[in-house]
């Protein structure tokens, strides 16, 4: 029998014509959207989206623009990494935005500095003992919160078998309540300098990219990743094949919770404050990034690379609108259209492929 590198005999197989990775389409959508902004800018505004036309600056690229494109999506992007794993297993996590809110409040309460401009911190939550703690303390407290939220989500999904939509909706409502209750709706502010450094400048981007690479490797090369795809593809079959589905799900939701908590730490550090309303709707943005990146909400299909590209599309859209000075009233209408358009493009190319 003809045994080749890619299979065992039978039909003719032509590796050159094999299916392209789905991420290619997402990348194409990103390029098209970016070019569209560049073109519209050049034609209608005499200005460039990506390049510098201001005289006082030497750089060719408008680095500030490129930086802000990634920077503004990197915090939601961190959440989206966790959400990607959850969706791969066929689940969904609606709680991440609220977990960000609650974690930010709690972590920030242990990251406060005693003296602000010479007077005692006006937003102090705890007494003296909680002031000017080493930066590791609030970080660990935050991660612990996220872990707890994730474990609770995971417990309900995995062991009581309620739909993930409900388990995480419950957590969403609960965590938002918690963040309001924590300081009766008051913001928690004035962190120590070392805490403020976590989210300073391009740090969020560094954290996001590092984690993205890490989870890209984890999903593609470890047993954990393989089981994510397997469970999302056919949970029943995975169980029958001896995967401990419940334990795996617990782990997935725990990781998602910790990533949301990490995002909360970075976010509150970047903004130098924590607020009960922080992270509202982040869960939807994170899910949208993953879906634009080609993940299937049925589970089993998608990748971290896709999610990162989906996040970049978001970033370009937001920056592009400000660049075009598009009226805020129209922005959302156009944004809605672009989101749909990006996915239509993706879908259309995929269908063409399978028809070919």
């Amino acid at each position: 029998m003809a045994q080749t590198a890619h299979g065992i005999g039978g039909l003719t197989y032509d590796p050159a014509k094999r299916a392209k990775p789905a991420e290619l389409n997402v990348f194409l959508a990103l390029v098209i959207i970016t070019s569209a902004f560049e073109l519209i800018g050049r034609i209608f505004m005499g200005d460039s989206f990506l390049f510098n036309t201001r005289d006082n600056i030497d750089a060719i690229f408008n680095w500030q623009r490129l930086n802000i494109i990634i920077l503004q999506v990197s915090i939601v992007g961190i959440i989206a990494l966790g959400v990607t794993q959850v969706i791969l297993t066929g689940g969904i996590d609606l709680s991440s935005g609220s977990v960000v809110g609650a974690t930010a409040m709690i972590a920030m309460s242990f990251a406060q500095t005693a003296m602000v401009n010479g007077s005692p911190n006006p937003k102090a939550i705890f007494g003296e003992w909680a002031m000017d703690l080493p930066v590791l303390f609030p970080i660990l407290v935050g991660l612990a919160c996220g872990l707890a939220a994730g474990l609770i989500n995971g417990f309900f999904v995995a062991y009581t078998r309620i739909p993930p939509f409900i388990a995480t909706l419950g957590m969403m409502v609960f965590a938002r309540g918690l963040s309001r209750w924590w300081s009766n709706g008051n913001p928690v502010s004035f962190p120590t300098e070392s805490y403020a450094a976590i989210g300073k400048g391009m740090m969020p981007v560094v954290i996001f990219v590092t984690l993205a690479i890490l989870f890209h490797l984890v999903l593609n090369h470890t047993r954990y990743g393989k089981h994510c795809y397997a469970i999302g593809s056919n949970e029943q079959a995975s169980r029958m094949s001896g995967i401990n589905v419940a334990r795996h799900k617990l782990l997935v939701y725990a990781i998602a919770g910790m990533l949301a908590a990490l995002a909360a730490v970075v976010l509150s550090s970047k903004n130098l404050t924590a607020q009960a309303g922080m992270g509202v709707m982040y869960e939807l943005d994170a899910i949208a990034m993953a879906v634009i990146g080609g993940i299937s909400l049925q589970g089993g299909r998608g990748s971290i690379l896709g999610t990162v590209l989906g996040a970049l599309i978001f970033g370009v859209i937001i920056s592009g609108f400000t660049f075009l000075k598009l009226d805020a009233y129209y922005q959302e209408m156009v944004k809605g259209a672009i989101i749909v358009g990006a996915v239509v493009l993706d879908q259309w190319r995929q269908q063409r492929r399978t028809k070919g």
Binding site: R54, Q64, N271, L272, T273, Q275, M278, M281, T322, K325
Partner: protein, 293 residues
């Protein structure tokens, strides 16, 4: 070129008036402004400011989502050398603002205080010494809601209320007329007698009024207070349903902020702190406000 504006929230009626004030003043002076909606998200607001900086605007106006998150914004604008003006809400770093930054704001403490004292006065006028009230709060994570609710308690504690106030229950209706209707109906179904409703804004006050009217209560005897002096509220006041509201000169604040931003952009000096007071609106002086919002 142009001026970038980041508003805390577009869906808020009061902020809409403020925003329209900026827009109208800009149009009148031939200025180009770009107004963004931060959707109550501090992080989004900071990103918007960074986007403005990347686009090279002349000046930035910020209506802060969170007044304690302004330090990061001031830092970003100062680093880029772009002037910044805060509007409507007093930033926490007000005393350490760089030279090319300013603010035009109101003191939220006044709104709830004016409202509560007027409601107390009306109870006194009805000949009561003690009154039972329900309190409707805005979104719990919103500082105006937290502050206006705290104002009620402060007035009670400070003894500046003309009668003894008893709060029967204090719940949130999230600024919304619809939720306020449901909340009020729920309260009514418990059958507890009460004398008035103090709401954090007019929308909720109107919702409460609609629910009470549906249940056949006499609005002449029940005192209802709100904040914002919206058109709907003024109409309700004219109809004799709403008893007190508080006006904040939104359009004036917007125009003032724009002027300050333009001056700073030209390198001129401006007053760094401008307080615009709240004004109490009652049936007696309502005519002064009918065309203001």
């Amino acid at each position: 070129d142009g001026i970038g504006v980041s508003m805390a929230l577009f869906d808020d009626n009061f902020l809409t008036v403020l925003r329209n004030g900026i827009q109208a003043h800009a149009d009148a002076n031939g200025l180009s402004v770009q107004i963004e909606d931060a959707q109550n998200d501090v992080a989004k607001q900071l990103d918007q400011i960074n986007n403005f900086i990347a686009s090279g605007v002349d000046a930035i106006i910020v209506n802060p989502v969170d007044t304690s998150a302004t330090q990061a914004m001031s830092d970003a604008a100062a680093a880029a050398g772009i002037p910044l003006v805060y509007v409507n809400r007093q930033p926490i770093n007000v005393d350490t603002l760089p030279d090319n930054q300013a603010f035009v704001a109101s003191n939220e403490v006044e709104s709830g205080t004016l409202e509560t004292i007027e409601v107390c006065r009306l109870f006194k006028e009805q000949g009561k010494t003690e009154a039972n009230v329900y309190v409707m709060m805005g979104e719990l994570s919103n500082q105006a809601a937290v502050q206006r609710t705290a104002d009620i308690h402060d007035v009670m504690a400070a003894g500046t209320c003309a009668v003894t106030l008893n709060i029967i229950d204090e719940q949130t209706a999230n600024w919304s007329r619809d939720q306020a209707q449901s909340l009020m109906t729920n309260w009514l179904s418990s059958g507890t007698a009460f004398d008035g409703v103090i709401a954090n804004n007019d929308e909720m006050a109107i919702g409460a009024i609609q629910a009470m009217k549906a249940a056949g209560l006499d609005m002449g005897t029940i005192v209802v207070g709100g904040v914002d002096a919206t058109q709907d509220a003024l109409a309700a006041m004219q109809a004799g349903d709403l008893d007190a509201t508080v006006f904040q000169n939104a359009a004036g604040q917007g125009a003032g902020a724009l002027d300050a931003a333009v001056k700073l952009a030209k390198g001129e000096a401006v007053e760094q702190k401008v307080y615009i007071p709240f004004e109490l609106v009652t049936p007696a002086n309502i005519d002064n406000y009918l065309s203001k919002n």
